[in-house]
Subunit: 712 residues, 2 copies
């Protein structure tokens, strides 16, 4: 699983329908920032806790451990946010930052050239001058947290209505942020936690001169590829090391984590300090049931259809198989994630947990004084109203996919946005479109990744047929594409007359800017211009009838929860720094036991057992150096710590505050954690420090880096 919150631009362009559908009307990431209470927290290793509210009582009772303030400060100040969607940590006195390879891979791609493919070969800078500076990577370290709830709330006092109150609060937040930045020079963000239960001013030290020191090949960082993604036992060297500079010199960070090469033992208590992106644990039980009975079945049916189309296309010959297989694997992987979540929704015990959570809260609300009660009591009904509406929109994503699934149509959308921005003076353009950012934009619009018109036509034909069946040919989006033609003919006309697959053509459009784009008569441009109004209307209706009122209702429920439980809970994930705790522990799997760790023996076994082919091909240098390796070296291990996307790259620390691992994935049983945390078999998957050290020393000849990390 990509625990990253972000996705590379190219990936977004092609797959945004996959990545955003989870966060559509059903559970918008913005609307999900609400608190959650666990009546089971003492039993399960649950929670993504803010640093001001670490569950000391649970830790004491369950593990006999109480972190000191110094321990907490040390871990917090060593934790690093990768602002494009991941986490990391300082691991040396001279500014080394460790994260996942898959968090770094966007930067690795940008640092690559025709002659130097860093994803394929890996990279090691054995002296400072070889360290490669990243173009646009911002890292943040949380320096301080200040509760500003009173000030924000006071600003809204006497407001005539809710909207005015919101405006007043937002104005005050802006003011607080500006004051703080002016005063401290630090990046200052006011964070809304517990959905308005609390507001906190988070001040970050910001680093923008970040240089690549070490990255292994993707082949070993993502060993096992899409098949092994989200699973365990696992064997990935998913790490990359950067060095942070300030004023042209390596930063001496205030704190860094001391490297503990031995790592933990089974059952040890460990912590994860990182930036979980978003969770949907505030969902009402009605939403849980809706997801289970409507949303996921529709989504899985859609995935199944796409995969069916791709299989049929791929069965024609070897070349068509080759052309379709990347997309096939990506969508299989998305399907795998959805199936994992769907299984959680279908678990009776998880449903029961969700139902009981809601029951407890609603009973507490019912016991409130009538005035307080009136504030919250209608919220569940409001959510149910939005669900009734959403049931009529279940197949909206099919309509969206008619554009988003087609590579050339997403290029057309990208160019049209580009043209709109280019028509403005630089100062008025949106972020990402300023003159000095256009080089970055090329990664997206002028990607050399091949687009195959025959595959595009097959996809469009198949999805149009599916849309006719599920939405009807009179649906606004469908009819705007068909224009009275059959699906076959429409797809043939549209794809057959487009040149957007051609990099030269796209290069000319890019160079000709808005003028060239607006003049383009390409058939896919025409399609997108024709379809966008209908798509926008469809999405607008969903926002108005579902997303907006639901967000309002969930906010009420969140506030009720805060009123009832106060801070005996943690807020839903908000991509701000959190501390999770848990134990190093194997689990029951596939009829047997999954061990708490894997070893180098297992890495070589997995390669050899697949005849060292495809996703399971081990880089040659591992085979060459195998006799030097200590084969019992732990490779990956698992804990019960509560994590989710955004936690990628988070450090795992022990009770001494030492670094004992690097988070990079969750197992397939952890996917339902999006809705309800469950520790029976859900596990976070971690790179063991000894594996990194063994590889650096014996495979990558990076002794100098290993010594720096060990503090020698």
């Amino acid at each position: 699983m990509n625990l990253q919150n972000r996705f590379t631009a190219a990936f977004a362009l092609l797959f945004c329908f996959l990545l955003t559908s989870a966060a559509s009307a059903n559970h918008p990431p913005v609307a999900a920032k609400a608190p959650y209470v666990s009546p089971f927290a003492a039993k399960a290793d649950e929670g993504m806790w803010t640093y001001d509210n670490v569950p000391l009582k649970i830790l004491k009772e369950k593990f006999g451990f109480t972190p000191t303030q110094e321990w907490l400060d040390n871990v917090r100040l060593s934790s690093v946010r990768f602002n494009d969607g991941g986490s990391g940590s300082f691991v040396s006195a001279t500014g080394l930052v460790m994260t996942n390879h898959h968090v770094a891979s966007g930067q690795l791609a940008k640092l690559s050239t025709k002659e130097r493919d860093l994803l394929a070969t890996g990279y090691y800078a054995d002296k400072p001058e070889k360290e490669l500076k990243c173009a646009d990577l911002e890292l943040n370290v949380l320096m301080s947290m200040e509760n500003v709830t009173d000030r924000v709330s006071a600003a809204a006092k006497g407001a005539a209505n809710a909207q005015e109150a919101l405006r007043a609060r937002n104005a005050e937040i802006e003011k607080i942020q500006k004051e703080s930045t002016d005063k401290t020079g630090l990046r200052s963000d006011v964070v809304d936690l517990y959905r308005g239960g609390e507001y906190w001013l988070y001040r970050y030290k910001k680093y923008t001169d970040v240089r690549l020191v070490f990255a292994p090949e993707k082949q070993i960082a993502y060993f096992g590829g899409d098949p092994d993604n989200f699973t365990y036992p696992r064997f990935d060297l998913d790490c990359t090391f950067f060095r942070v500079y300030d004023g042209g010199k390596p930063v001496k960070p205030e704190r860094f984590l001391k490297w503990n090469n031995a790592g933990p033992q089974e059952n040890d208590l460990v912590f994860v300090s990182g930036h979980p992106g978003s969770t949907n644990r505030l969902n009402t039980f009605a939403q849980f049931e809706f997801n289970r009975d409507y949303f996921y079945p529709a989504r899985l049916k859609r995935f199944g259809k796409i995969l069916e189309i791709l299989r049929e296309f791929g069965s024609k010959n070897d070349e068509s198989k080759r052309r379709s297989q990347d997309l096939y694997f990506s969508i299989s992987n998305a399907e795998k994630a959805s199936k994992g979540e769907f299984e959680g929704l279908n678990s009776k015990s998880i449903a029961e947990q969700c139902r009981r959570n809601e029951e407890a809260l609603r009973n507490a609300v019912a016991a409130m004084q009538s005035e307080a009660q009136a504030q919250y009591a209608d919220a569940w009904g409001m959510v149910e109203n939005t669900i009734a509406k959403e049931k009529t929109m279940l197949n909206n994503p099919i309509a969206s996919s008619l554009v988003n699934l087609i590579g050339q149509a997403t290029y057309a959308q990208g160019f049209m946005r580009f043209a709109a921005e280019m028509a403005k003076p630089d100062s008025l353009r949106n972020d990402g479109y300023h003159e000095n950012q256009l080089n970055e934009l090329k990664f997206t619009l002028l990607s050399p990744a091949p687009v195959y018109p025959d595959l595009e036509e097959a996809l469009m034909t198949g999805m149009l047929k599916f849309a006719v069946q599920e939405l009807g040919s009179t649906h606004a989006v469908v009819s705007a594409i068909l224009c009275g033609r059959t699906p076959e003919l429409a797809a043939k006309d549209i794809i057959g007359n487009s040149k957007l697959y051609d990099l030269d053509y796209r290069t000319k459009l890019f160079e000709g800017r808005d003028k060239a784009v607006n003049a383009a008569s390409d058939s896919v441009f025409a399609l997108v211009r024709r379809v966008m109004p209908a798509l926008r209307a469809m999405n607008g209706q969903a926002a108005q009838e579902v997303s907006a009122p639901r967000a309002e209702a969930l906010r009420k429920i969140a506030q009720a929860r805060f009123a009832v439980y106060g801070k005996n809970q943690y807020p839903d994930a908000t991509f701000t720094l959190r501390l999770s705790y848990g134990q190093v522990k194997g689990y029951a799997m596939n009829g047997t036991l999954a061990p708490w760790k894997t070893t180098l023996y297992g890495l070589f076994d997995r390669a050899a057992s697949f005849d060292n082919k495809g996703d399971f091909m081990l880089p040659k240098r591992f085979w060459d150096r195998k006799d030097k390796l200590t084969m019992t070296t732990p490779v990956n291990y698992v804990t019960t710590c509560d994590i989710i996307g955004g936690n990628s790259g988070s450090p795992v620390v022990n009770t001494k505050g030492e670094l004992v691992g690097l988070i990079f994935d969750g197992n397939i049983e952890s996917l339902p954690n999006r809705f309800v945390y469950n520790s029976d078999a859900a596990r976070s998957v971690i790179v063991h420090p000894a594996f990194m050290m063994e590889a650096m020393r014996k495979v990558y000849d990076a002794e100098k880096l290993a010594k720096e990390i060990e503090g020698k």
Copy 2:
């Protein structure tokens, strides 16, 4: 999974309720000998085919391979039946027979002494005089097959009614067998295939002088223990080699399989030649639904209750945990098997396959002429009637377990049978009780395995409470045990006053024979005497109302199937020689892929990843010799071949008729194959020949044996 059909006597005594409940009224092994047709045989690698009816057309169409008669003769004459429930094969010109360690383990236990625990240490006879002769092992080789259907059928011609016809057929069968034995000196069995569709005379060469040559430690033969049992990826050296003697000299077998150390490649066509014990593929769809909705839920509830009692007992202290854990793991393992089968029953696609199979057959019957139709048409209704009856008997096994689950009560039953036989003159005793067999009986009745009265009392208390809840305290069996006491008091009285846990006491009973047993006033003897009449009445009713009429109905259905499909099908398993075919193939598992093979790297990984503890402790000699081993050597691999219990020890052969593997298990996804064959993820699990050779040569210093096997 024990693919063995048999169980050791001691095991049977304690766990017969587990092993026989599957074959109870619900699907009696005798009643299950019926044909099955697969409309999907061309797609799936289905079928346990008799050697006279190998599916040549399918093999030709799907694989372009047609075995010659010489190929078939070679494989058949190399195949060996282990009459206590497994399979094997000749693998050298000098009488070496290979089977599984778990098929041989009963013999290994019998060959062990206080000073020489062969299960713990393994064994290798590096010269003939060291080869250890087994006490009671009979091996059979199928020399010829003769269709005697006409003769058997003719005998029943003109019979007044069905019962007389049956008698006439049986008399003719006896006659054929005797004639053949007299004439050829071979063991001669008439086999009923396709439930009376055909009768075949199978003649076997019989070997009774069988000597142990090589067995590894159980620790590596059954590496991974109960947790890994039924699962894959797997790492077991589950082999044992015997040598067959005749007239005091090693036998020169007519044929033997040439050893192919390289083994197969992925996707290769391979065959399994062995003796599947029994399948239930003839079940009607109503039975399928009954199993899914009633039988398995009741069984799983019962297992759950036993495990709950054991957990509670084990939670008291370390000693109680130690005392209960063997039974806990065994029952967990039985539960695992049942859950695997239950999952298959709950699979929509498997249910649909079963439903369609029945529909096709019933449609074909409906299209028959009315006279033929009348013969079969009421059979499905007859089965449904028996199901209605069985629904009222779902909890019978709880009553049985009140005796069978208690070790001392099963001892009491064993001694009472022993006493009854001892009272007869030797010539009239049942097999197993003759004077020259009493030494073997000691393994059962005088087992030194400890029995813990505190555990027995906890089990009896818990199961009595459960019985009161599920059956009521007035149930004949329950009330005969309680005698008006509470469950606690009854268990305390009965277990507290028994000495059957004491080996000395049992030794005295054994030595005192029927006199001593009949005079015994032990409280558990008293219990068994009191309860047996009620238990017998209960079981008698089940036999009369369910088993007998159902067997008759299933026989009709089997005959209908034979009438419709003739020999375009294979008969249900009958522990006679069968040929299965399939491909070497990985499969989708746990969200990722299971490889087609595992390697020595993986064996060491699995040991190291569990810190070389418990079931995952690798024998020290493997660690000592690890640097000598070629770590990429394949260990186990999987195929789609259709197998079931009884196939343990079967050779896997390639299209050249060479030995390329040794069957030892099925994966957890294969458990539903008891009902309907499914090849998506169901796999047979095989020891790779290269693993055996590598271990013999480099770990066990058995170079001489390795050379003999290689024919050098």
